[in-house]
Symmetry: C2
Subunit: 197 residues, 2 copies
Amino acid sequence: MSSSPLKRSDKAAATRAAILSAGRRAFAAHGYDGVGVRAIAAEAGVTAMMVNRYFGSKEGLFGEVVTDSMRDPIILTPENMAAPDMARVFAEALVGITARDAEPLDGFQILFRSTGSETAARIARERIEHAHQAAATSVVRVGHPSERAALFLSLVAGFQLMRQVMGLDALAKADPAVLVDLLTPLIAEVLRPTARD
Amino acid sequence: MSSSPLKRSDKAAATRAAILSAGRRAFAAHGYDGVGVRAIAAEAGVTAMMVNRYFGSKEGLFGEVVTDSMRDPIILTPENMAAPDMARVFAEALVGITARDAEPLDGFQILFRSTGSETAARIARERIEHAHQAAATSVVRVGHPSERAALFLSLVAGFQLMRQVMGLDALAKADPAVLVDLLTPLIAEVLRPTARD
DNA sequence: GATTTCATTATACGAGCGTAGACTGAGCCG
DNA sequence: CGGCTCAGTCTACGCTCGTATAATGAAATC
């Protein structure tokens, strides 16, 4: 209540943001095909046509949601890469010990849950390739960088998939500290070999 | 041309098998929501109603497809577990060096591509839990068995996801021998710790 | 205060979905 | 041969989907 008179254009921007947020949550929870524009719009408190008005189409909304949620640095931040114990920092970020308030890494969920749709899968592939290139050129510097970066992504993706998407209890309800302890040597092994490289 | 007079019941069984096969291929390629019964039936050379006749419903067909494709021992065979160098055996099985003629591990693809659907996701979760229990009780015997088994599954799933579903070139086109060499120490690390356990 | 603008809704269309029910026609058996 | 069985098809229903078009009503402008 109270303050802002909320000019018309501001209200429009708020509506747009509400749809974007609702879309992000909905896509993360049910995937591209699993939710309709009516449901997304309803959660944003508007009608279905608002999606088309502000994003052109359902596909347009999805694209913007993916781009937006991938803007989060995932775990490939420069400070992470420069840390003395990279592996543990990555592990902690992956498990979510840093506990950012926002929903953690739901960009992955969105992509994985949407692999059934053709257009969504195309977008997902593009983002994955991009993340792979970033990992290959900036994190891994030994052995077979491309393959190692891909395995690193596989590990991250598999962990997210099993814990968040599939909801595997052994990961979802596990003690975060234990997960970090188990993940750290794994990540270290991917990023820096112990033999013949 | 030629031989079998193909009795009526045999023809029925053949049709059923054709639908099951078409469903397996279709679900693996497009996910549960990504393909309709008409398309599946058409690929099997019959009409859509045959799906309901033989499997009760689309969901019934999916369940049977999943059960059928999961009958493949994935990589948790007794001989694998008993091998002296378990990790390498697992890695080779995962990469597919053993090159079974059938489509490799498409059970994973079916599950991953179908996570958008509610019923499909439920079935997927059941299968994953089952695989996790098997891994936890029969493969991992140190440290935190449940968490380690879950991470093992994560690694396998992530690798399959990135290589087969997402089609990440760095994995799909990589030299299998290199992949095995990189995966072996990873799997060994998951299954048998190097420190404090 | 009258007029224009525009965020939003209401209604509807066409397509595709899964599936129910009636029908068809060829193989089986007396 | 004549009746029955049953694999398979045809048609149609109810539903939901994404989205185009027209109407509404309050804020913005003059």
